[in-house]
């Protein structure tokens, strides 16, 4: 037994943000192992320069996004290759954003509509100034060469 036992201390401090009330500052970071699970073929498709949507085997409703079951009837869907040309359904240029995208501002987001497809596709528009984007404007898909397996592996340019 040691009645004078002392906890060993370190020299690292705490970032103090404010004194009254006491506000401390600390960093928080997490690594995830994230599975795309049944949506994986979509990302594999992007790496091969293909844009894959989903078509319901039962009711033929066609989605511009991956979903393995139909929102309208519950039936299983099949992968279907989307046309790589579409039109801007709506758009915005973001001058601010979440922290992860602040350094990319200003960037233009668009929802793309495709002939023969019932739903839309969210993507970025590049190659057009913010005031050049317009509803109905024809756009064409391009793919990054070094696939990151993110939805930003595809983007759109004026067609």
């Amino acid at each position: 037994m040691n009645k004078n036992a002392k906890l060993p201390e370190t020299e690292d401090g705490t970032a103090l943000f404010n004194l009254d009330p006491i506000i401390i500052k600390y960093h928080y970071e997490i690594e995830y192992l994230h599975s795309y699970a049944q949506d994986s073929p979509f990302f594999a498709g992007l790496a091969k320069g293909r844009l894959l949507g989903s078509r319901c085997g039962a009711c033929s409703y066609t989605y511009a996004t991956p979903r393995s079951h139909c929102m309208e009837c519950g039936g299983a869907t099949e992968w279907v290759e989307l046309p790589q040309r579409g039109r801007i359904h709506t758009f915005t240029t973001c001058h601010f954003g979440g922290e992860a995208f602040l350094k990319e501002t200003p960037f233009t987001l668009i929802l793309v509509e495709f002939d023969g497809v019932d739903t839309l596709f969210l993507s970025r528009l590049i190659g057009a100034e913010p005031d050049e984007a317009a509803i109905g404007m024809p756009v064409r898909a391009r793919f990054v060469r070094n696939s990151k397996f993110k939805p930003t592996d595809v983007y759109f340019v004026p067609a």
Partner: protein
């Protein structure tokens, strides 16, 4: 089911930051206010609680609801946390309603808070954007103002809605809040002020958007027997409804408008619905709440509305979902002055169109001017509606300006995501 009444409410001031109080103390402050307003109500009378807060990222604390329950001295009574993005407050309010309506509780506390000041605004925007699909939407540039900007751009395209009409909503709500001491950002604005403010996501400027806030709010719900035993001045919750839509707004259908009782199919012969310009979850919530409350013509059977104006644009879109005007008329509804308080000078000229009677929308100042501490927001709306219907606005706000003359019935509306969860509740004076 049995009738459920709101018997009290309490709220903290909403502010950019309340670093001197943590979430437990903020809720305690609102709770003590609500308890003091019904002197016969003792903590022992409360059968349990529902805790309303949105983001575990903001609290950096899981099961924060349990900490509030113990801080208020309500252990070992039942409690649960309800979460549904921006609609967390509205969903929690309806969960409290269910607890009393089912007979499970006679008195139920619904307590909400959010502490958004713990991270900077841009990190906060990122946390909020995590309430969009993190596989497909967030990585593309996840930013709710960007999503709402795309939705209103389409509303402008379909219906001719203008940025000036949107700016008038900001003018209205900030001016109303000049008479609400609980509000975070009361202001006298002009259309020019709104349009010349920094652009966030075209066409929305920073004054088209609500702010991050710290704040708390509580409501106390009771059975008829408990309300009369406690000698409260109760308000009846006569209708509740809620609705949903696809998580990814890109997935929304382009189909037919579900009609409210006062509408005709011919009104919308060429409209593809909801697309990204409208919120079918809001339409569903309204239809269910109107049916329960026996409302067939909402514009004429409601005296005021407190709705989820996270953006000026979404206030205009929501008028239409609630059936205050037809789809496409939201902008003209603003121009006509219909949603403005009759006794406040906004410095605006109205169009003179008299198709719609006045129905003040967001007399409190709404989210745009009161702030949006997410878990508290839907309860804040309930509290301001409750005080309106009680006729106690002057007592609670220290200013009678926002008190409507003898309102009979009000609507509160809470909204999440790009319209993924939406609630509508109807409150009536008794």
């Amino acid at each position: 089911m049995r009738p459920v009444y709101m018997i009290s409410g309490g709220i903290t001031k909403f502010a950019k930051a309340h670093p001197e109080k943590d979430f437990r103390l903020m809720v305690k402050e609102a709770f003590d206010y609500a308890m003091a307003d019904v002197p016969a109500l003792d903590r022992r009378e409360i059968d349990g609680s529902v805790c309303s807060y949105f983001s575990d990222h903001f609290t950096r604390q899981l099961k924060a609801g349990a900490m509030v329950q113990d801080y208020l001295g309500l252990c070992s009574k039942p409690s649960r946390r309800v979460e549904g993005g921006g609609a967390t407050g509205g969903l929690s309010f309806q969960s409290g309603w269910e607890a009393v309506a089912s007979g499970r509780m006679d008195v139920c506390l619904v307590m909400g808070f959010e502490t958004m000041s713990r991270v900077n605004t841009w990190k906060g925007n990122e946390f909020i954007a995590l309430a969009s699909d993190t596989n497909f939407d967030f990585p593309v540039g996840g930013f709710y103002t960007g999503y709402y900007a795309m939705m209103v751009r389409r509303h402008m395209h379909e219906f001719g809605t203008t940025v000036e009409q949107m700016a008038k909503v900001a003018v209205k709500n900030h001016a109303n809040a000049l008479h609400n001491p609980y509000a975070q950002s009361p202001a006298r604005l002009t259309i020019d002020d709104v349009r010349s403010a920094p652009m966030v996501a075209t066409p929305l400027t920073i004054l088209d958007c609500c702010q991050m806030s710290d704040g708390a709010a509580v409501t106390i719900l009771a059975s008829e027997e408990a309300a009369s035993r406690l000698g409260a001045a109760p308000v009846l919750i006569s209708g509740v409804g809620s609705g949903t839509d696809a998580m990814r707004m890109a997935d929304r259908p382009h189909g037919k408008v579900p009609l409210l009782p006062h509408e005709n199919e011919a009104d919308y012969a060429h409209l593809k619905y909801p697309g990204v310009h409208s919120f079918r979850g809001g339409r569903s919530a309204a239809a269910l709440a109107y049916r329960m409350a026996g409302i067939s013509d909402p514009l004429r059977e409601l005296d005021f509305v407190e709705l989820h104006d996270a953006y000026t644009s979404s206030e205009i879109q929501t008028y239409e979902d609630l059936g205050l005007c037809r789809y496409g008329e939201g902008g003209s509804f603003v121009d006509a002055g219909a949603p403005f308080m009759p006794n406040i000078d906004y410095g605006l000229e109205f169009s003179g169109e008299n198709r719609w009677p006045r129905i003040p929308v967001n007399p409190s100042g709404g989210l745009l001017a009161c702030g949006h501490p997410v878990g508290a927001t839907g309860l804040m709306q309930a509290i301001f509606a409750f005080w309106q219907l009680q006729g106690t606005i002057e007592k609670h706000l220290g200013d009678a300006t926002l008190q409507l003359p003898e309102p009979k019935r009000g609507l509160i509306h809470s909204h999440a995501g790009t319209g993924t969860y939406i609630t509508v509740s109807i409150l009536e004076g008794v």
